[in-house]
Subunit: 127 residues, 2 copies
DNA sequence: CGTATTTACGTCTCTCGTAAAGATT
DNA sequence: AATCTTTACGAGAGACGTAAATACG
């Protein structure tokens, strides 16, 4: 599996959607040569032709059809994961341990901890 | 979603498996700096910390834990797709249409077609 | 004729390794 | 002291755009 396999899958899907390399190039704001090279890389990586190229029409091979179905799912799931993990942003969670003298702790630490927990319910503090 | 998102997911998984950046670097035959930069890129892309770094131990954050679970599945599925589509290699399939005069067809084309179909059962020929 | 794919070539970005510094046990 | 993470920096690889050639409708 080559360096940019998943990345070029997105290009491949765009080519199928657009119905042409040029259309996909416009959609992605790059030149057609970029598209050609990425699809070529995919085909060489897989050792299979994905698209029958003619000047006016693109046809999916059987391998291309299969890859297209699966690529749609892959890109969707990757985007889901990205969004889900990015949603952890700003959240404070996990376990925090603090060691100190009891008198110091009661006087200075506990109030701060109480405020932190009020603000971040997912934060656990152990003794 | 950044350029090499799926690619760096593999690095991330290797780091978790190895339990250290250096271990993952050895496993991948690269220098530790490469690992650091790829994990940094992932974290910046997601806007979330994935690993708590200490010199002697790595700890997954909640976001890191979640990403790890999903990354395992993603990499597995991508490899599956790669293998499945690559398996189309060498197979001849799809629809082939040939136009010619009946006398010529019967004399020269049909025998060849019969041989082709015998060799490649997935090949369909229409009239 | 207009638009599409393809490729050679120069440029430039970006990634890598080296090496040094800081941190931790 | 030994091993780890981190970062600045120079070198190298790789991707991009341009532009010309080719094919097709």
């Amino acid at each position: 599996m080559r360096p940019h396999f998943a990345e070029y899958l997105a290009t491949f899907v765009d080519v199928v959607r657009a119905g042409s390399f040029s259309g996909a190039a416009r959609r992605r704001a790059v030149t057609p040569s970029v598209i050609v090279r990425q699809i070529d890389a995919l085909e060489e990586d897989l050792g299979v032709a994905l698209l029958i190229r003619s000047t006016r029409a693109l046809t999916l091979t059987d391998a291309g059809q299969r890859l297209h179905e699966r690529a749609l799912r892959h890109l969707d799931e990757l985007a889901d994961t990205h969004a889900e993990v990015a949603a952890f942003d700003g959240s404070v969670s996990g376990m925090l341990r603090i060691a100190c003298f009891p008198t110091f702790g009661k006087r200075y630490v506990l109030p701060v901890v109480a405020a932190l927990q009020a603000e971040h319910p997912a934060l656990h503090v152990g003794s």
